[in-house]
Subunit: 227 residues, 2 copies
């Protein structure tokens, strides 16, 4: 049995119970029979909020590192942060010896093997610069065909399902028109937590990657490789 | 059921039956229950030989492309070339619409999620420059801690098992001493076909990735993502 611990980006008290249920169920869906999926939270950090900016992540990163160290001390086999932006990825990796698997890194790697150019459904205008930073970090920015933000606020996602679906499909279609062969939904909190990637794909006619599915499967490969 | 076709880098007549049996068994080992693993060969191409150089691959690449087109026409879901150098990867991808998964790309991606720097057990002096080219292609050369060639000729591998094992362990140890956190064996034909990565790891004390295992699992993620 391999222990994979996913660290949420906000403190536990920030999330409504329903949001936690949805996120954990979404990830459990993709675990193989040998994976024990665990969850933990930083002591501080608020990224599930209106008008989220990267400053909110910066404040939380030291607490992600502490949560990662605790996971290592407790004997888990690999760590992930529940966010496609892979916040704190480098800082956490310097702090622990066990593998740190990025949902973002995993999904970019998959995208590049599916098509030469990808599109991105971004969460918000306020995080567009950082979406470019993540592409730079993984050296894939030149493969971007089109990117556009949803601008549906995280805490309102459960109230705005139809708008979320419609905007996602519109953006995915434009990605296809602009030469993308595959679409990456960025964030994890909106897609695939509140909207299934299959629903976007069916209407938009282009493969839409599921970062939860790909990240969990990639973590399983990694854990198996170093077991 | 998903159909994954692995194209060997040489024409069928070039390989002894025993070599084909070993290679296909090594890959089948790592397939999940929903993968139908198929093999094919280019009409021309000789890379299983003494003093292999990149020129041998260059001559074969047009035939890899033809074999890939045929695979697509026959309805397979994804294609791989049986070589960690991913020969012809870009050319094949331009020629077909289905995913082309690289053993090399997959194993580099895994290595980067395991440790900040990797070491490489290279096959031959004659392919060292091209090992650097592949790292450039995937933009990971700055993560290399140490690389050293085995210099055990491919067609002699079955006769020189103990030397292959000893040299692999020595190189993996030096990778560890020079700061690598994980070792990538390059080639596929020598390792893992003729030497198990577990045998190197146990003696060298550093994780040694299995490109066959990681590549097949990665291809399964990709096929599932676009299914």
């Amino acid at each position: 049995m391999m222990r994979l611990r996913v660290i949420f980006p906000s403190a536990r008290k920030v999330y409504p119970d329903k949001e936690v249920e949805l996120r954990t169920a979404t990830l459990r869906n993709f675990c193989g029979p040998n994976t024990q999926l665990e969850f933990s939270y930083p002591d501080e950090g608020e990224t599930f909020k209106q008008n989220l900016t990267w400053d909110d992540f910066i404040k939380a990163i030291p607490h992600f590192v502490l949560a990662a160290k605790q996971a290592e001390a407790e004997g888990v086999d690999a760590i992930m942060i529940h966010c496609v932006y892979d916040p704190g990825y480098e800082e956490i990796r310097r702090a622990v010896k066990i593998p740190v698997v990025g949902f973002g890194q995993a999904v970019f790697n998959a995208a590049l093997q599916i098509a030469p150019r990808f599109g991105i459904i971004a969460p918000n205008d306020s995080l567009l610069k950082e979406a470019n930073d993540v592409m730079d970090q993984y050296r894939v920015r030149d493969r971007l065909a089109h990117m556009e933000p949803l601008n549906v606020q995280l805490p309102e996602a459960h109230l705005r399902g139809e708008e979320l679906r419609r905007r996602s499909v519109d953006i995915a279609r434009r990605c296809r028109e602009k030469g993308a062969g595959v679409v990456i939904p960025f964030g994890m909190a909106l897609i695939p937590t509140h909207l299934r990637t299959e629903d976007i794909r069916e209407s938009a006619g282009i493969p839409v990657l599921n970062p939860a599915q790909i990240g969990i499967r990639e973590a399983e490969i990694i854990m198996e490789a170093v077991a």
